[in-house]
Amino acid sequence: MTRAILLPVGRDWYALPPVALQEVVAGPVVTDVPMAPATVRGLFNVRGQIVPLLDTAALLGLEPTAACPFAVVVQTAHGPAGLAVTGMPEPAELAWLVGPTRARGTVGAYAAGKRVAVMLDPLALMAQLHPPGGR
């Protein structure tokens, strides 16, 4: 059994290792960034620090989500980043691998109680910000 934090994104559930999580911000006040790609929702203030808020669904190659009631702040090699989620994250135990996943930035689908959650690899997920041919 592996401990994880479950993140609701649209109708899907994703999972993060607890160690990757810094904090959860409810109702982040987001400043839109003009002409930013769909993966970047904007910037928000986390305890006096300007942090980019990323669209988790867009990073996974899905339709960007409309609302962002919560932001999950994770640490990256280049400082903190927020992942937009559509509901309150919750802790869970991942029981076993139920199948592989195709999206970049994911490492497989796991059973988590009655749900199935896709485990995220935060580093690989952030790499989607710089698609090949980009910067």
Partner: protein, 696 residues
């Protein structure tokens, strides 16, 4: 070999000290090459080598010690009277380079005994130096073939109380001070919101913000380094390259004391080296070609730095053959982007495109089309810009403008579509609250600023944040912004004023956001976006050309109106003064040409008339007084207003200038923007408040 913790610390200290000493040695050796008989200079070189040897002995770096010892022996010979031949200096410089490479390698545990052996052997028996073609004998007349101008040795460094500090610690300090200032602003906001008082009315808060402001200023100052920090690599590059190409080149450095942020200087250093290399490789001709063209045998590359407001302007100018514009157009055409219909002033900027080279042959130095695009990118990364001027047969000049610091940026705050944005002040040419009236030229919407028309776009539409029916009215406020190479006007909802903004880089996590230079945290916790003017202007031009703007694209960034702005010829042999005056006048909307002496000024006037001349007095070839008399003697020019700007301030000098026919006399020590513009405006019969004054 086992190294204890304490030894490791000493070795790290040695590495830092050696880096500084080797840089000094290199600089002193270059000077020694010119003044080989200067005993005091020789002693300084000897002292540096000796100290380095002693330090290497203390930390047990035997190979470094051997090389330093061999250097000492060669220098001892020079002190006894051996000639400082180019071969000897080459070997000494080679030893310096070798030690620069050896020190970190040896400290990392590599065995560099063979390398040290080679360096010692070269010092004892120097290989023949690459030499310039010998000067013709007998020595040519000074008028036609002058030797290199005399070089003033740099002042000996004074011993100062200093402490070495890791740059990261300083950066962290600057960051924390910036955050403390932002936090204090937030405290003020809380006081206003919860207690109903004004922060300025509470003495303790007022004191806190005053102290923090002072602290911020001092910590930013601590990051400042003189431009002269990169003098040594510039000199070295110029010397080595000139020698390898068989060219006679004099590098003239001025304004070395000009200070700018260490981070900015680091970004500017490589572009500077590249431009100096380019000037020598492509610009300066071989000695025979120069003599045949009636030029001095020694080509000159001038690198002048000066502070202009919140910017440092560095010019890299050469008196070589200039940029072959026809070839630039040809190469651009081959690359699939013909410059048909593009004026020369704009076409020249094609040299900054990736992959475009005008070098006839590909050399180790340049000619692969890699470089000038990198120069531009490096400057853009520090919000700098570059301008180019070139005259066939006369030379080229690159003018680099960079902000002194990136940590605190003076910004103009504007409102567009109900949102606030910061625009770096150094990119704001002018701002007009009442707006400028719009005109239509060839189906394009333009505004007229002074006597120039500029393309205009809505800021909100350009940023993609405009809502339905929110386009500002044609008489709404507007700002004229200057990107690296273009000017463009933007309509906004309101001008909110100017203030210093602590700008935070958005880091490397995000992809490049072309329209954003950074962001800042406001006292109320909101985020202010600071716009990237180059990206913004490019976006606006793209939108216009794709029909997304208010009008079709303009073929040129600034199409002169038929009457044209007043034209001023600035004449001064000091590039920094020339640039200062040009900058002030251009900012105020004048068209400015420059000349380096009176003779060139008369040639320029014969070619194209000017409306006014601003001239220095003491200049080579034809001084300012002779120039003024020559102007008064020519019927076509006799009514041309002449402003004399000189460092001589006596009544006798003033009388001499007036007797020669000058209309105004200004003293350089008292010269400021307002005075110059007032005098020029008065003589041209214009209003004293030019377009560039608005919003400044």
């Amino acid at each position: 070999m086992e190294v204890t913790g304490q030894e490791a610390r000493f070795r790290a200290m040695f590495a830092e000290e050696a880096e500084g000493r080797l840089a000094t040695l290199s600089e002193l050796l270059l000077e020694l090459e010119r003044n080989g008989e200067d005993q005091e200079l020789l002693s300084s070189v000897f002292r540096e080598a000796h100290t380095l040897k002693g330090a290497a002995a203390v930390v047990g770096l035997a190979d470094v010690l051997r090389v330093a010892h061999a250097m000492e022996e060669v220098l001892e010979g020079l002190r006894r009277g051996d000639p400082a031949t180019p071969a000897a200096v080459d070997a000494l410089l080679g030893a310096v380079d070798g030690m620069r490479e050896m020190v970190p390698a040896v400290l990392a545990g590599d065995d560099r005994a063979d390398h040290a052996d080679r360096l010692v052997a070269d010092l004892h028996d120097p290989p023949p130096a690459l030499a310039l073609p010998p000067d013709p004998a007998p020595p040519p007349s000074p008028e036609s073939v002058p030797g290199p101008p005399p070089v003033q040795p740099p002042p000996r460094r004074e011993r100062r109380e200093t402490v070495r500090l890791r740059v990261e610690r300083l950066d962290e300090l600057v960051r924390l001070v910036g955050e403390a200032s932002a936090a204090a602003l937030r405290v003020g906001r809380v006081v206003t919101d919860q207690l109903g008082g004004e922060p300025a009315g509470i003495p303790e808060l007022h004191d806190l913000s005053r102290i923090l402001e002072s602290l911020q200023e001092r910590t930013l100052q601590a990051r400042m380094v003189p431009f002269g920090t990169i003098a040594e690599p510039l000199r070295r590059t110029a010397r080595d390259l000139a020698r390898s190409l068989g060219k006679a080149v004099e590098l003239e450095l001025r304004g070395q004391e000009t200070e700018l942020d260490r981070g900015v200087l680091e970004q500017v250093a490589d572009p500077m080296l590249h431009l100096v290399r380019n000037a020598i490789d492509h610009g300066i001709e071989l000695p025979e070609a120069r003599l045949a063209a009636g030029k001095p045998r020694y080509g000159t590359v001038r690198v002048h730095a000066a502070q202009l407001g919140s910017e440092v302007v560095v010019t890299v100018a050469d008196d070589g053959q200039g940029i072959d514009l026809a070839r630039v157009r040809q190469q651009a055409g081959k690359a699939g982007d013909a410059l048909d219909g593009v004026g020369d002033d704009e076409a020249i900027y094609a040299i900054f495109r990736s992959g475009l080279s005008t070098a006839a042959t590909v050399s180790e130095v340049s000619g692969r089309g890699v470089g000038l695009d990198v120069v531009r990118a490096s400057l853009a990364s520090v919000r700098g810009r570059v301008e180019v001027l070139s005259e066939p047969g006369t030379g080229s000049e690159f003018r680099l403008s960079v902000p002194i610091t990136l940590a605190v940026l003076p910004c103009l705050l504007v409102e567009a579509a109900g949102r606030r944005f910061g625009v770096p002040m150094h990119s704001v040419v002018s701002a007009e609250a009442a707006g400028w009236s719009e005109d239509h030229v060839e189906g394009q919407v333009v505004i007229r600023v002074r006597d120039t028309i500029l393309p205009v776009s809505d800021l909100a539409a350009t940023l993609g944040v405009a809502g339905q029916g929110e386009a500002p009215a044609s008489d709404s406020p507007a700002v004229v912004l200057a990107s690296m190479t273009r000017r463009h006007a933007f309509r906004v909802d309101a001008l909110l004023g100017q203030r210093n903004v602590v700008v935070k880089d958005l880091g490397r996590l995000l992809p490049r956001l072309a329209l954003l230079a950074g962001a800042s945290l406001e006292p109320d916790g909101s985020i202010l976006l600071v716009l990237d003017v180059s990206g913004l202007v490019d976006r606006a031009r793209w939108a216009r050309s794709n029909g997304a703007g208010r009008a079709a694209p303009s073929p040129s960034p600034a199409v002169p109106a038929p009457a044209g702005p007043a034209s001023v010829l600035v004449v001064d042999d000091t590039a920094v003064v020339r640039e200062l005056e040009r900058s002030i006048l251009e900012e105020a909307g004048y068209r400015v040409r420059t000349a380096a002496d009176g003779r060139l000024a008369l040639a320029a006037l014969a070619d194209t008339p000017a409306d006014l001349v601003v001239t220095d007095v003491e200049m080579p070839n034809c001084d300012g007084l002779e120039l003024t008399r020559a102007i008064r003697a020519q019927p076509a020019l006799t009514g041309l207003p002449v402003v004399v700007v000189t460092s001589r301030s006596s009544d006798a000098d003033r009388r001499l200038a007036m007797d020669a026919g000058a209309d105004a006399f200004l003293v350089k020590g008292d010269l400021d923007r307002r005075t110059l513009l007032e005098v020029v405006g008065r003589l041209l019969g214009l209003a004293v408040q030019p377009a560039g004054e608005a919003g400044r």
